[in-house]
Amino acid sequence: MSAQAVNLTYREAMRQAIREALLSDERVFLMGEDVGAYGGCFGVSKGLLEEFGPERIRDTPLSESVFVGAGIGAAMGGMRPIVEVMTVNFCLLALDQIMNNAATISHMSGGQFEIPLVIRMTTGAGRQVAAQHSHSLEGWLAHIPGLKLLAPATLADARGMLAPALADPNPVLIFEHGGLYNAEGELPDGAGAVDIERAAIRRPGADVTLITYGGTLPTTLQAAEELAGAGVEAEVLDLRVLRPLDERAVIESVARTHRAVTVDEGWRSGSLAAEVSARIMERAFYELDAPVQRVCSAEVPMPYPHHLEQAALPQAQTIVTAVQRMLGIGA
């Protein structure tokens, strides 16, 4: 690894990844609303139109179904498209193409067609953009066999997940939490591709496993610090891959700590946190000293006012309280 480290934001890390992909493979092109002239709704693709031209950086009409479907068709036609759906909230208009075509054709055709497509979406709440722009729907899409789902929460993952996703012959969905774009940090200069199959322990601990992904990783790490102050060593497990779930990592961690809390910005009912909790119950029941707890968003359409939005979202204090109750200590 080269000696100097580069200081950059999550946004710039993702832009570098896209630029590197465009440079290294002429089959790669970027398609989505305002990815070109506007520079990307969240600024991720700024400058790419000027560098690569309108053929490979394609602004689309506001027609999510056709440009996601076109991404699928282009992938079947030999390209390696990166389709940007501005936010996960708009993927609802393209769900038929994602589920009934992208996720299904390989299996239903008896393996005759591959769909090497990457769809990127911004997800999550916390910026007071109210209910219709603040959804976290990873759990829905993680339900669908045939798709792979990634949730880059760190700079290294933002920089390194796109390349292996494009190389994967299956449709891969990458969720970038809106709250992470401005996160700043250092990356080694030559930082490159990372694994897209395993979860990662972001903080080791022996007393309880905090399982999370994407935008709630910082909140969960903060909770772990507060717990350390109270003498509780929490292990923070970043799922990174939401489908297929790295079940082994979850079970191994719970087998060590015997307690688990899943933290998920989705709504509790039928959430990804519910799936993780069910797998722990199925595979590590006898390791448990307490029932698995879930810290999720309140089951409400995300409210606009700051104080209500924060009340609805998982907070570090909610996690700390859940762990204390589980250990029978504290307040």
Binding site: S63, V66, F67, G73, G78, I105, H107, F113, P116, G146
Partner: protein, 339 residues
């Protein structure tokens, strides 16, 4: 229209006859519960598939709908592979997993039936986009019914393909009914070619019951798409003589209307024209019938002899298999079991 000549005329008739007899046999096999689930027959519209397939080339791509037996058969998918697929057998063109509505065949670039009305249009746009970006001169032919015109995806696909000048040939088989709803009852503008032209692409209507008219119109449109690199829209006005699927009560139209359209049945029409021109003897016709019947009996035997996919393979191909990765862009090599 170019003058009729014997050999080509007999070929077109043979193609339509193969589809007609195949579909008639399917009715019998469905009532005998050999074919299950949903099945949508093409009886009456054969001229469209025969005419269009004649005008397309091997390199072109086909995106079809759930009423697809005729398209698949005339595109070159073997009758045996189609029948085995409807029998749910491993030897089917989709390993028995798709059935009547989901025939796939990588070898002939037949990118499948699609049970979601309008679901195939965005795919076709994408395939054409890939051709354009890779500088390939070929056509993506996208078949859909008049019902799909009411779906949002029709508007989005027509706009994007015109906006980006993509080589898509939109082939709208207007049989005047969206399942049980006549077109006047679900479209404000029923002249679909007129509606399509508003997207700044050439669009015109064709008599979908005249196989030679369909062939000639498709040749012209395909050339504009292939050479001009522009999308094109054809409205093929046709009619289905049987129910939407097996079985609907067909209460939404009168017997008289069906009889009136039967008078335009493309098969007797072409037979009469060939016989009037002294180009076809009764013996010629009987030979075409014999050949069609033989092909269908062989297909049924192939399907009956087919095997069931082992349950252990249930999850195969949910994700692409590593070995398939190297098989060229986008098209995995067809499974070994394919005939």
């Amino acid at each position: 229209m170019a003058p009729l000549e014997r050999e080509h005329g007999l070929h077109l008739l043979a193609q339509m006859l193969r589809v007609r007899r195949f579909e008639e046999k399917c009715v019998e096999l469905y009532s005998a519960a050999k074919i299950r689930g949903f099945m949508h027959l093409y009886i009456g519209e054969e001229a469209v598939a025969a005419g269009t397939m004649e005008a397309l080339e091997g390199e072109d791509a086909i995106v079809a709908t759930y009423r697809e037996h005729g398209h698949a058969l005339l595109r070159g998918v073997s009758a045996g592979a189609i029948m085995a697929e409807m029998f749910g057998k491993l030897e089917g063109c989709s390993r028995g997993r798709g059935g009547s509505m989901h025939l796939f065949d990588a070898a002939t670039r037949f990118y499948g039936g699609n049970a979601i009305v309008g679901g195939g249009l965005p795919l076709a746009v994408g395939l054409a986009l890939a051709d354009k970006l890779q500088g390939r001169r070929r056509v993506t032919a996208c078949f859909f019914g008049d019902g799909a015109v009411a779906e949002g995806e029709f508007h989005e696909s027509m706009n994007l393909s015109a906006l980006w000048q993509l080589p898509v040939l939109f082939l709208c088989e207007n049989n005047r009914y969206a399942m049980g709803t006549a077109i006047e009852r679900y479209e404000s503008e029923t002249d679909l070619a007129l509606k399509a032209s508003s997207y700044e692409m050439s669009a015109w209507s064709v008599d979908g019951m005249d196989v030679r008219a369909v062939e000639e119109a498709t040749r012209r449109a395909a050339a504009e798409v292939r050479d001009g690199g522009r999308p094109c829209f054809l409205e093929l006005r046709t009619y289905r003589f049987r129910a939407h699927s097996m079985y609907d009560p067909d209460l939404y139209r009168s017997k008289e209307e069906i009889e009136r359209w039967r008078e335009h049945d493309p098969i007797p029409a072409l037979s009469a024209e060939l016989q009037a021109a002294g180009m076809m003897s009764d013996a010629d016709l009987q030979e075409l019938e014999r050949a069609a019947a033989e092909e269908i009996e062989a297909a049924i035997a192939f399907a009956e002899a087919g095997t069931l996919e082992p349950v252990e393979d249930l999850e195969r191909f949910v994700y692409a298999e590593p070995s398939a990765a190297g098989a060229g862009a986008g098209a995995a090599h067809p499974p070994g079991a394919l005939a």
